[in-house]
């Protein structure tokens, strides 16, 4: 093809490759590339990224080697062992169960639910926001009233009530119950951006040329606000870790036989534990703080990468 084309023009094949290479070099780098440059420019962010990814990978793999029912067995000989005794790195709790092992399995459960919750609630919130913002008019009005109603519900209370009504709940039903109440923030953000986006010329042009609404929404508007979506998803992931652990802390998250970071912090409800046996709850509390701070920091860096005026990496 290229040779054919060249017969009618005076650009040689070598010129063509050179030109296309130049064009490639000058083109805007891909989103992934921009985000990576931003991380390389900000060392603490790189550390946060390594910590989060490494920790999640470690927890997922290590928990495979832990026999959960055996771990949750009471072992009275190890009653409140101090950290470092009997080969227990972080000591044992009131049932003589290893805190370190519970921490690993608990982190896997908490992070797993947070991931599931983020995927479901963000997907729903994004679709809701896109449709509400794009169609405007009556559709938007109706969807906004549903939004208002959901915002009015006392979320924590509703979740607790639902958890008590459902007789046999597990991690999946729990994630679904959480998802009912945690899509509003995303949907509002996406809606306001979609409202602005759908007034732009490319949308109008696409409409005139007969593109279907669904295609405009998901193939044209959504890619254009993808950076916002990535940032929002990262930040809500950090938030969702707090949601699950908080409910488990109150005793309405995962069942007591399934360790979670929240149920471990709930050890602190006992005045004896909180003062004398600090190792039963403090590691879990510190872990949540470090995880949430790191994930949010990663989110901030991605937000910076999305906004070209704030970038620190790779001056363009």
């Amino acid at each position: 093809m290229a040779e054919n084309f060249n017969q009618h023009s005076d650009i040689s094949a070598a010129d063509l490759t050179r030109l296309s290479q130049e064009a490639k070099a000058e083109a805007t780098p891909s989103t992934a590339r921009i985000i990576w440059d931003e991380f390389k420019a900000d060392k603490p962010a790189l550390v946060a990224l390594v910590v989060v990814v490494g920790f999640i990978a470690f927890v997922m793999i290590a928990s495979l080697f832990i026999d959960t029912p055996k771990m949750m067995e009471t072992n009275i000989m190890n009653y409140f062992d101090r950290p470092g005794t009997n080969g227990l790195w972080l000591g044992a709790d009131s049932g003589g169960r290893s805190v370190a092992q519970q921490l690993i399995v608990g982190s896997r459960n908490s992070i797993g639910i947070a991931i599931g919750l983020t995927v479901i609630s963000s997907t729903f919130g994004i679709c809701w926001g896109l449709i509400s913002g794009y169609y405007n008019g009556y559709v938007d009005w109706g969807m906004q009233r549903v939004y208002d109603f959901m915002m009015m519900l006392p979320m924590t209370m509703m979740i607790i009530v639902l958890v008590t009504i459902i007789p046999h709940y597990n991690a999946i039903t729990l994630t679904l119950i959480f998802s009912i109440f945690y899509w509003e923030g995303t949907s509002r953000l996406i809606r306001s951006r979609t409202l602005a986006e759908s007034e732009k010329d490319y949308v109008a042009a696409s409409k005139t040329s007969g593109t279907s609404n669904l295609k405009i929404i998901f193939r044209e508007i959504m890619p254009n606000i993808s950076s916002l979506i990535i940032v929002d998803t990262t930040l809500s992931f950090a938030e969702n870790i707090g949601v699950e652990t908080g409910l488990s802390y109150l005793g309405f998250g995962l069942p007591t036989q399934t360790p979670s970071l929240g149920t471990m912090i709930a050890n602190a409800n006992d005045p004896n534990n909180i003062t004398q046996y600090w190792w039963t709850w403090l590691p879990a509390a510190l872990e949540i703080i470090i995880l949430c701070l790191s994930i949010s920091y990663i989110g901030q860096v991605i937000r910076r990468a999305a906004d070209s005026s704030q970038r620190q990496g790779a001056a363009d």
């Binding site: 209370m157 802390y249 109150l250 912090i265 703080i289």
Partner: protein, 319 residues
């Protein structure tokens, strides 16, 4: 403006109706019935059957709902089984505790957030701004209940500065001592709540101040020779204050939702702790009443904020 407020209130009515139906159905879906608590080995099943019949528990749900609503408007929320006390009286006692806690928290939040916001805006991009930005970032990210637990550990148990449970000391006599003891019990949860609830106000005020810095009236004031301190204190702050006041409504909703955690951690006998206790005792009448009250308070909080905002900011009014 009146149109906006009226429209806003009209939209509220169906919301409250749907909420009440939802709450009612949830209460119906919970296991057990109002007489489960009074069942004992001596109770005759036929008698309980009769009791359920005369109390209308075999009626269709819409009829039961209607009866419930009629009782609601008479201020009758039923009887608590756990406390053997009318729910209205039970909640009224707890509500004062929760509202005092919320009030003190809110006063402290504003007392900290307002100077911080103005300060950060005034020194935009300099060290104080960076420090405040890091502070708001950290407080925003960490889940609130973790902070409460760490707070009660450090200040309540290790340092022993604050009481760790209850709303009043048992040996408090006289009104001065009573008020003092109550305030002392509220202080630590309120300080923690305030420290970790300033984010929205600080960020909003900061951007308002930064916008105002470059506006014409500030330039005029500067040209007339008004000292910088007075510009910030009287001109900019005065102008940014009203939108900030609108946050009060949203703060109420946030504090109410947080009250469940705060009161559980500090064993503070308010509505949040009452809710958690009622759930574990399956005290359905109390649960229903509390969910309804929280929902309506949420609604009123948002309404308040929206009204203040529409008064202050003509752009969001409905034509």
């Amino acid at each position: 403006m009146w149109k906006t407020i009226l429209r806003r209130i009209l939209i509220m009515i169906p919301e409250v109706i749907i909420l009440s139906i939802l709450v009612f159905l949830l209460a119906k879906a919970m296991p057990g019935d109002p007489f489960t608590g009074s069942i004992n080995p001596k109770a005759d099943p036929a008698q309980i059957h009769h009791l359920m019949k005369i109390n209308g528990l075999y009626d269709p749900w819409y009829q039961q709902y209607w009866n419930w609503v009629v009782h609601l408007f008479h201020g009758n929320l039923g009887q608590s089984y756990q406390y053997q006390e009318p729910v209205t009286r039970l909640i009224a006692g707890r509500a004062t505790n929760t509202l005092w806690l919320a009030l003190v928290t809110m006063v402290l939040t504003y007392a900290m957030a307002l100077p911080m916001g103005v300060f950060a805006g005034r020194h935009e991009g300099k060290l104080p701004d960076t420090v405040i930005r890091v502070y708001t970032y950290v407080t925003y990210c960490i889940p609130f209940f973790v902070i409460l637990v760490l707070g009660i550990w450090v200040f309540g148990y290790v340092l022993g500065w604050f009481p760790t449970t209850g709303s009043i000391a048992t040996d408090a006599n006289g009104w001065l001592q009573t008020i003092g003891s109550r305030f002392y019990h509220i202080l630590l949860p309120a300080i923690l709540g305030a420290l970790f609830g300033t984010v929205n106000i600080v960020q909003y005020l900061r951007s308002e101040v930064i916008d105002a810095k470059h506006s014409d009236y500030v330039r005029t004031a500067r040209a007339k020779g008004v000292p910088s301190k007075d510009i910030y204190r009287h001109h900019i702050f005065r102008n940014s204050l009203l939108p900030i006041a609108a946050f009060a409504g949203y703060s109420i909703t946030g504090l109410l939702n947080g009250s469940i955690f705060t009161e559980t951690v500090f064993s503070y006998p308010g509505m949040g702790l009452l809710f958690i206790n009622s759930i574990s005792y399956r005290d359905y009448t109390v649960i229903t009443a509390l969910v309804l009250i929280y929902g309506i308070l949420n609604l009123l909080g948002t309404l308040l904020s929206d009204i203040i905002l529409s008064v202050v900011d003509p752009r969001i009014r409905i034509e």
